[in-house]
């Protein structure tokens, strides 16, 4: 067997692949089930973006916090939130991650350090400053990571948080997931600078841009800035340039995209295909081993949907519980 040219051992590579594949199948299944009318509300899919969330989260433990976005399923799965409970949540059932009270845009699991998907764009960045501040007081080397899209990178909350994290020297990391679109609006229309590294520099933060469809590029860049944050070196910004396979939300006809664009990114910028090609070409992992994971994951997602549909609905008694700890 050839030597392993990757910064991860075989088990870790299989784990990374399993996480990305789980996200992909979770999202593709939701795409189908939503179009059938099985799922209520708004759903924003992470398919195509898996390498970013996974490459970053591989460096984190439960004590490290993240705050996610409206497009949060991938972050949740990569951070260790149970996909079975997530599916129940998206179906609005009891036993869901939030007992059916949050839905797709609010999945959280604080025991896993997942501080919530968020329906308010940019709102997670100040929360992450607080999580990083708490980590700083605890002195265990924990970090906190805020995810925003290229659209929400224009929010005042995000920009103020860059400054606060810098002046307080917080173990905070700001990840800009640049998929080229703020809803239907081109990233280049809404952001005046070409590079988020320049924007970070304006706030006194180091920044780095990586190809977000390349798992290994994300993994290595994230590893460096997370290590720096853990050691007291302060906050950083990481821009992941990536692609969105689906619309802003499910049901988006995406007429704002060029014809052939989606076919092109699915053929040429699929992070899972790129990962599989790299690890099999190096001879570290076989195609059969990846196929076995694909098969297992499909089974898991099928079970998650069956379980979710069979799970009890919330009752009227749940309507006004958990508004307060005590009132």
């Amino acid at each position: 067997m050839a030597g392993n040219p990757f910064p991860l051992n075989k088990q870790q590579l299989l784990q990374a692949y399993r996480t990305m594949r789980t996200i992909r199948e979770f999202e593709e299944r939701l795409h189908v089930d939503f179009s059938r009318g099985d799922i209520p509300g708004f759903v924003h899919l992470y398919a195509g973006e898996e390498a970013a969330g996974t490459g970053i989260m591989m460096h984190l433990g439960d004590g490290d916090r993240i705050a996610s976005t409206h497009r949060g399923h991938g972050h949740c799965i990569a951070k260790g939130v149970d996909p079975m409970a997530m599916m129940k949540e998206i179906y609005g059932r009891k036993g869901g991650s939030c007992e059916g009270k949050g839905g797709s845009m609010h999945i959280a699991d604080l025991s896993k350090g997942m501080m919530g998907a968020n329906g308010i764009l940019g709102a997670g960045a100040p929360l992450v400053c607080g999580a990083a501040l708490a980590a700083k007081y605890r002195k265990k080397g924990e970090v906190a990571i805020s995810f925003v899209g290229d659209g929400a990178s224009n929010q005042g909350t995000f920009l103020e948080s860059l400054n606060l994290a810098a002046v307080w020297n917080l173990p905070a990391i700001f990840v800009v997931e640049n998929n080229g679109y703020a809803e239907s609006t081109s990233r280049d229309y809404g952001v005046a600078v070409d590079s988020y590294v320049d924007r970070a520099a304006g706030f006194g933060l180091p920044g780095v841009t990586v190809d977000g469809t390349d798992f290994f590029a994300v993994y290595e860049a994230a590893g460096e800035i997370i290590k720096r944050a853990r050691e007291g070196g302060g906050p950083s910004l990481l821009e992941c340039k990536m692609v969105r396979f689906h619309g802003h939300f499910e049901g988006d006809a995406q007429t704002y995209r060029a014809s052939g664009e989606i076919d092109d990114i699915r053929s040429n910028k699929d992070c899972l295909k790129k990962f599989a090609a790299a690890v099999t070409a190096a001879g570290v992992v076989t195609a059969d081993e990846l196929k076995a994971i694909d098969h297992e994951v499909l089974g898991l997602i099928e079970r998650a949907v069956v379980d979710a549909k069979a799970a009890p609905l919330p009752t009227l008694a749940d309507l006004t519980t958990d508004v307060y700890v005590k009132y």
């Binding site: 709102a123 929360l127 948080s161 606060l164 307060y324």
Partner: protein
Amino acid sequence: MARKISMKQAINEALDQEMARDPTVIMMGEDIVGGAGGNGEMDAWGGVLGVTKGLYAKHGDRLLDTPLSESAYIGAAIGAAACGMRPVAELMFVDFMGVCFDQIFNQAAKFKYMFGGKAETPVVIRAMCGGGFRAAAQHSQMLTPLFTHIPGLKVVCPSTPYDTKGLLVQSIRDNDPVIFLEHKNLYGLEGEVPEGLYTIPFGEAHVVREGKTASIVTYGMMVHRSLEAAAALAKDGIECEVIDLRTLSPLDIDTVLDSVTKTGHLVCVDEANPRCSIACDVSAQVAQRAFGALKGPIEMVTAPHAPVPFSPVLEDAYIPGALQIAAAVKRTLAGGRH
């Protein structure tokens, strides 16, 4: 007799003693220490009106001066609360909540419910409220109803140094997000305050003056204006019961209903603007739940539906006074069914 201290000192003492008791209590806000990063005195201000003066010397880096960046640091307080700390954030003037309201009403207020009961956010957001400082439209509002409207928030507005200390200690220990509003015109008010720690439970109104002719229900600085009115009316043989709500969410409506059942007359006094105010809320609940006990129309005394003016002559006319309250009591008595 217990020693007397000002409301400002009561706040300082509550913060000091809670920080000494619980290492997870931290504070953040603009100039709460003062002088950060400069070449002059550290702890130069202790807040714009000196409320937190001296705490830095005792508790060091658990007090954090912030940039002028309310969205970021109020959000950071909320995030830290969700991660095991008990932050007390100072918003300085409640009027500034407009720039960070999302973090308060979409984040802190909703975590518990939205996450299926699995999150707690024990954050306190302190802010000065109220008029009388000649500080004009953007530094003088009450805004209390904006917060009571939001499920998930608790809202406190004390009227005395004693209540201030007990309610602030309760707020810090409480596991829900608390908006703690300090009327800036009461900062100098002195009253008896025990030296040790104590708490006052939320949702318990205080009957400040007993009476059987009419019930005046109020909070904050208006408690003192209402007591003035009650003292004047007593000279005419009109005995008013004055109820200080103390916490606006939760609201102790039972104490109000008991009082109105006894007196048959209700006057709600609120320094906030009239539409959808605390006065409206109390009036509606009494009309709904104790209609049969009412012997006259419910009266409301509030600020007008206008911004707070600057010119002292206008501001004095803007803030409800004892004469208006007394007149309202007389109106409900005159308009009564006999």
